[in-house]
């Protein structure tokens, strides 16, 4: 079963003459363990797709299944609970709370969900440790580099039992080496069973994904074929379909 499934999802903003189709008839699924990237020009609906996938916005038509549950029509409280427990978000500008340390930022969503402070902190430490940040746990965001802040944001997004990670240009504010480290971490979370839907800011970062879906004018117009494995790539020249 897919962790995330969008069925014939459309979103219309405005009414009458000012009506704009942000996304139209999107069918998309992301399995546990899988990293899917969305590419498309600005205004093609990538961010709208991500906010609908995370139930932060309601589609005009269509269904959004998160871990088998249709979130369309759910009450605000139920949606908020599902988001806290299941969905993690990573944004370009990190969105860490300045007054909290790294580990407090990471454990906050668990505490909001009723987990005791002690248990939440232990899980937060575990998430930081997995991302190589255990020694930064008690630092405040302004004491961390940009790359470290984004790694803390990823730890927060996957802490506890959260199994759907949504990331909107997570490397947008980082240099290429840190940008690659962020994608490597998201992939590592996927290998641990998380499903990730990412809007990367260039094709280099998108190429970390198992599957790339291309959006154009709010529609999914194309996607990559399943990637070949390294052992099949010994002769890249031979794999090229071009004529000579």
């Amino acid at each position: 079963m897919s962790m995330l499934e969008l069925r014939n999802v459309s979103k219309v903003y405005g009414q009458g003459a000012t009506e704009v189709d942000a996304i139209s008839n999107i069918d998309l699924s992301v399995d546990r363990g899988s990293l899917v990237a969305i590419m498309g020009p600005s205004g093609s609906g990538k961010s709208t797709l991500l906010t609908i996938a995370g139930s932060l916005e309601t589609p005009t038509t269509g269904d959004v299944m998160i871990d088998g549950t249709n979130v369309v029509g759910m009450s605000r409280n139920d949606k908020a609970r599902l988001r806290r427990r299941t969905v993690g978000y990573v944004f370009q500008d990190f969105n860490l709370l300045a007054g909290l340390t790294a580990v407090e930022n990471v454990s906050l969503p668990l505490e909001l969900d009723g987990v005791s402070m002690k248990v939440a902190r232990a899980q937060g430490m575990s998430a930081l440790d997995e991302l190589g940040l255990a020694d930064r746990a008690d630092r405040f965001p302004d004491e961390l580099s940009g790359g470290e802040r984004q790694r803390v944001a990823i730890a927060r997004a996957v802490v506890g039992e959260r199994s759907l990670l949504l990331a909107d240009e997570p490397s947008g504010a980082l240099d290429s080496v840190n940008g690659e480290a962020v994608m490597r971490m998201i992939l590592s979370a996927c290998h641990g069973g998380v499903a990730a839907l990412v809007v990367p800011h260039d094709a280099k970062l998108a190429s970390w994904a198992d599957r790339v879906v291309f959006l154009r004018d709010g529609r999914a117009v194309d996607e990559t074929l399943p990637p070949q494995r390294p052992e099949e790539l010994l002769d890249l020249g031979a794999a090229n379909p071009s004529e000579s």
Binding site: M39, P41, R184, L187, D202, A203, K204, A206, S207, W208, A209, V212, F214, V221, D222, E223, T224, L225, P227, Q228, R229, P230, L233, L236, G237, A239, N240, P241, S242, E243, S244
Partner: protein
């Protein structure tokens, strides 16, 4: 760059004489690739020999012969436009010419051609990225070489995105059938082939 396929593309717009093909070829490529008339007639003879084009009067003076594309020629052109170029060596020019040609061939959706190439490039990048996923066998020189390839391919994807945007803007600002020769630009950038 394939003169053969560029001539087929021009013939797909309708029958033409050799001198006309030379003029239109140079105009359609922004005068970046000059062509001598001998190359044109040699290529046309080969297209005819291979059944991709035909002319009236094999024995007539070559300047009097009017060439047209055959159905096999149409198929060959369509196949060529959608076949990704060899990107294991720097092939930018071939991709550029395909997009330039595709933007002028009737009944070819240039945005579809762009997407075929964009998808192919991203798939190729996925293959390279998979090669450096394995940190346990990290090799700095290999990572640098893979990065070089990824940056090169990323630049080609960016160019396709820019071309896509520019063509859409041009189509929006002055809708035409896309086959009208553009004003000739005197740019000879040393790409003599």
């Amino acid at each position: 760059m394939s003169i053969r396929h560029s001539l087929l593309a021009l013939l797909s717009q309708g029958p033409k004489y050799g001198f006309q093909l030379r003029q239109e070829f140079e105009a359609s490529t922004g005068d970046v690739w000059p062509l001598n008339v001998g190359q044109v007639y040699t290529t046309l003879d080969r297209l005819e020999r291979d059944g991709l084009a035909e002319s009236d009067g094999v024995d007539a003076d070559e300047r009097q012969r009017n060439f047209r594309i055959t159905s096999e020629g149409q198929e060959e052109l369509s196949r060529w436009l959608r076949t990704p170029p060899d990107l294991t060596q720097p092939p930018r020019d071939e991709l550029v010419i395909k997009i330039l040609v595709a933007s002028r061939v009737p009944d070819v959706d240039v945005y579809d051609v762009i997407q075929v190439h964009r998808r192919y490039l991203v798939q190729l990048m996925q293959q390279w990225t998979h090669l450096k996923e394995d940190e346990a066998h990290f090799d700095l020189a290999f990572a640098l070489a893979v990065d070089a390839e990824l940056y090169r391919l990323d630049a080609v994807v960016r160019w396709l995105d820019a071309a896509d945007g520019r063509l859409r803007r041009a189509a929006f600002e002055s809708p035409t059938d896309g086959t009208t020769p553009q004003p000739r630009l005197h740019r000879r950038m040393g790409a003599h082939r």
